[in-house]
């Protein structure tokens, strides 16, 4: 493991306060949008990803400090990120979103992909494909934490390692993550009915990566979603559950870096994408 260190900076953008964790050097290449559990367990992945360029990983408003009352949906969050990308003048980045963060990445890109070169969605939530009395994603709000952990990982040891004793700061982040997830995804549960009708607007290449043993959102869901995106591709990771960035941190990071490189090369050839 490299010894890359993390920086944390507070952000206050139009009255919305949060914090950005970053690692690596140079121009920002990756924007990581964390899942419903926040950044817990993401260190190894972010470090590995920074081999391919600077990574920034903001806490979504509500996951680090209180969110404003009017932040009620992933749609609201997506406008915060459009503002943030403009404020940081990010260009040609790859947005990497996991689960709830994958949903958020699609919301952002469906509004504007002017600053985005490509997307990499790790077991994304966000749209509804199943029938009215079924769910595409396990109802994590009806399961206790231990049950969610047990389902989230293919290897129970990964769940155990992740649930190690926590200090007050970690407990606070866990409490905030649970509350903020409910703020954005309680109902409709983990999807925006409008997003399915806006997928055609996501005009950048998007790689969907799912753990083949994902019991929170099936890999089949990821495969089908890739087929609905204008420039979607799918890659499964064997022996992996719902959080590839935690359970297969190195593999997933390599995959994302490779994907970004391939798209950049293709982009140069077709003069597509980034300014």
């Amino acid at each position: 493991m490299s010894s890359t260190s993390f920086n944390s900076e507070p952000v206050d953008l139009f009255g919305v306060k949060t914090e950005i964790v970053s690692c690596g050097t140079g121009d920002t290449a990756f924007l990581f949008l964390h899942p419903e559990r926040g950044l817990r367990g993401a260190d190894a992945f972010l470090r590995a990803l920074s081999e391919g360029g600077r990574v920034i990983a903001p806490y979504h408003p509500g996951f680090r400090f209180d969110a404003p009352n009017h932040f009620k949906s992933v749609d609201d969050l997506s406008y915060f990120y459009l503002d943030l990308m403009a404020a940081l003048d990010l260009r040609g980045i790859t947005v990497v979103g996991a689960s709830l963060g994958g949903w958020l990445a699609m919301e952002i890109a469906s509004k504007s992909s002017a600053r985005i070169a490509s997307l990499c969605l790790l077991a994304p939530a966000g749209i509804k494909m199943s029938g009215r009395t079924e769910r595409d994603m396990q109802d994590i709000f009806s399961l206790d934490d231990k049950a969610v952990e047990a389902l989230a990982f293919c290897d129970p040891a990964a769940a155990r390692a992740d649930a190690e004793a926590k200090d007050d700061a970690a407990l606070e982040l866990a409490a905030r993550a649970r509350e903020a997830s409910a703020r954005y995804a309680w109902l409709p549960y983990m999807h925006n009915p409008s997003l399915a009708h806006r997928l055609h607007r996501i005009n950048v290449p998007a790689l969907i990566v799912s753990g083949e043993q994902d019991r929170i959102i099936s890999a089949e869901f990821g495969r089908r979603l890739a087929g609905k995106l204008p420039h979607g591709e799918f890659a499964g990771i064997a022996g992996c559950g719902h959080y590839p960035h935690i359970e297969r941190a190195e593999t997933t990071a390599r995959q994302v870096i490779g994907w970004r490189r391939r798209q950049a090369e293709a982009g140069v050839n077709t003069m597509k994408g980034v300014a």
Partner: protein, 402 residues
């Protein structure tokens, strides 16, 4: 002292189901509608008797549970409005934070107030944590939603000059103009349940009646918070009729009989924790700081307190601890009178006593016996606690029943 008779209208057969949660997830194939029909008729008959005996009546609502067959306070109230004649009718309450359509609540409550001839007491509650999963609304910011729904309901009830728009943060209406308007003017009395000093203060500021449930001697700091806020906002002492306490009551001819009946109270308290762990504390229901504390202590239990200040964990205490805590008033009429007198002395005076006299599987004949004993031997003496207590004890001794 106004005494409100309260039964949760339970479905007792469900208690004996092995290893089952009694809330949210218990499949309703365990509910036999024929049994439920008999239960409703029985509970309605008991209300009629309570009315005749001089009780006021409190009802409530819960969802997805056999502990309470009333998923709509307003339906229970509507029945009461027509089958009782004197009792004040208290819903405690309508879970406003879980209501998607508070205008409908305003319409229904006005209708109930008119049908009952102006006997409605309008209780608004936030809703218990575990039912957030059965409700449509988010478990976040439930108190904010409650107060906005309240604002709409009160405005609807007190506006008499035609439609107004309501464009709030949570609720939007184009033309609000309810028919009928309530009989009590300007509106039926408002009650709010509180379990925190902050919410007590919000209620005091509005001069509403504040009620606490099963908080035992831990009620004192809550009532004190109400009294302090009242002093601050209204520059006077809070009248005792602004405060209410809900306790359970197991009363009997003998102490042994009362204690047998108290087993049903204990079963009811225990049912609160017979719920899947994920539902006990939904995200956003408690503050982040409280959640950190829950995670460290490994439970969400809020302790009550005995007279001597000893913490009592609801759901795992003994009958004696519940009695010491003022959670269950239990014993002969003289003992019950003494316990209530002590409790009023301990937490400061309040004049609304909400009594759960029928719990869990307590059968009809025992419910009637309890109700009669309380009405005859306790109720008349509540307004002069000390003298009344001595008199009652004396009469009981004379009757050879003590």
């Amino acid at each position: 002292m106004r005494v409100f008779y309260f039964s949760e209208q339970s479905y007792p057969d469900a208690w004996s189901l092995p290893d089952q949660s009694l809330r949210i997830t218990l499949p309703n194939r365990n509910c036999d509608p024929k049994i439920a029909n008999r239960l409703y008729r029985r509970y309605h008959d008991e209300w009629v008797e309570a009315d005749r005996l001089g009780f006021n009546i409190m009802i409530n609502e819960h969802h997805s549970t056999p502990t309470c067959l009333s998923p709509s306070s307003n339906i229970s109230l509507a029945i009461l409005a027509r089958i009782t004649t004197k009792a004040r009718l208290l819903a405690l309450g309508v879970p406003l934070a879980n209501r998607t359509d508070p205008l409908r609540v305003a319409e229904e409550l006005s209708m109930i107030d008119v049908i009952s001839g102006g006997r409605l007491e309008m209780g608004f509650v936030r809703g218990v944590p575990y039912e957030a999963s059965a409700a449509v609304n988010s478990p976040l910011r439930m108190m904010d939603r409650l107060w906005e729904a309240h604002d709409l309901i009160l405005k609807a009830m007190t506006t008499t000059d035609g439609p107004f728009p309501f464009e709030g943060e949570f609720f939007n209406y184009r033309n609000v103009n309810i028919w009928p308007r309530p009989m009590q003017q300007p509106h039926p009395p408002v009650w709010i349940t509180s379990s925190s000093a902050r919410s007590m203060a919000d209620t005091a500021r509005r001069r509403y009646i504040a009620a606490t449930f099963l908080s035992g001697y831990a009620t004192k700091p809550l009532f004190d918070a109400y009294r302090a806020a009242w002093r601050e906002h209204h520059v006077s002492e809070a009248p005792a009729d602004r405060l209410a306490y809900m306790g359970m009551c197991a009363i009997g001819e003998t102490e042994a009989e009362a204690r047998r009946r108290a087993a049903h109270c204990v079963a009811t308290i225990a049912s609160n924790s017979r719920v899947g762990p994920a539902f006990q504390n939904p995200p956003g229901y408690a503050s982040v700081a409280d959640n950190v504390r829950f995670m460290k202590q490994g439970s969400v239990a809020r302790p009550s307190m005995t007279k001597s200040g000893k913490p009592v964990i609801l759901s795992s205490a003994t009958i004696d601890e519940y009695i010491d805590a003022g959670v269950i008033f239990c014993g002969t009429p003289a003992q019950v009178l003494e316990q209530i007198g002590d409790f009023r002395h301990g937490v400061g005076d309040f004049t609304n006593l909400l009594l759960m006299l029928q719990c869990a599987a307590l059968p009809h004949d025992e419910t009637m016996a309890s109700m009669n004993l309380f009405a005859e031997e306790v109720m008349p003496h509540l307004d002069a606690p000390r003298r009344g207590h001595a008199e009652a004890a004396e009469r009981f001794a004379l009757a050879g029943r003590a």
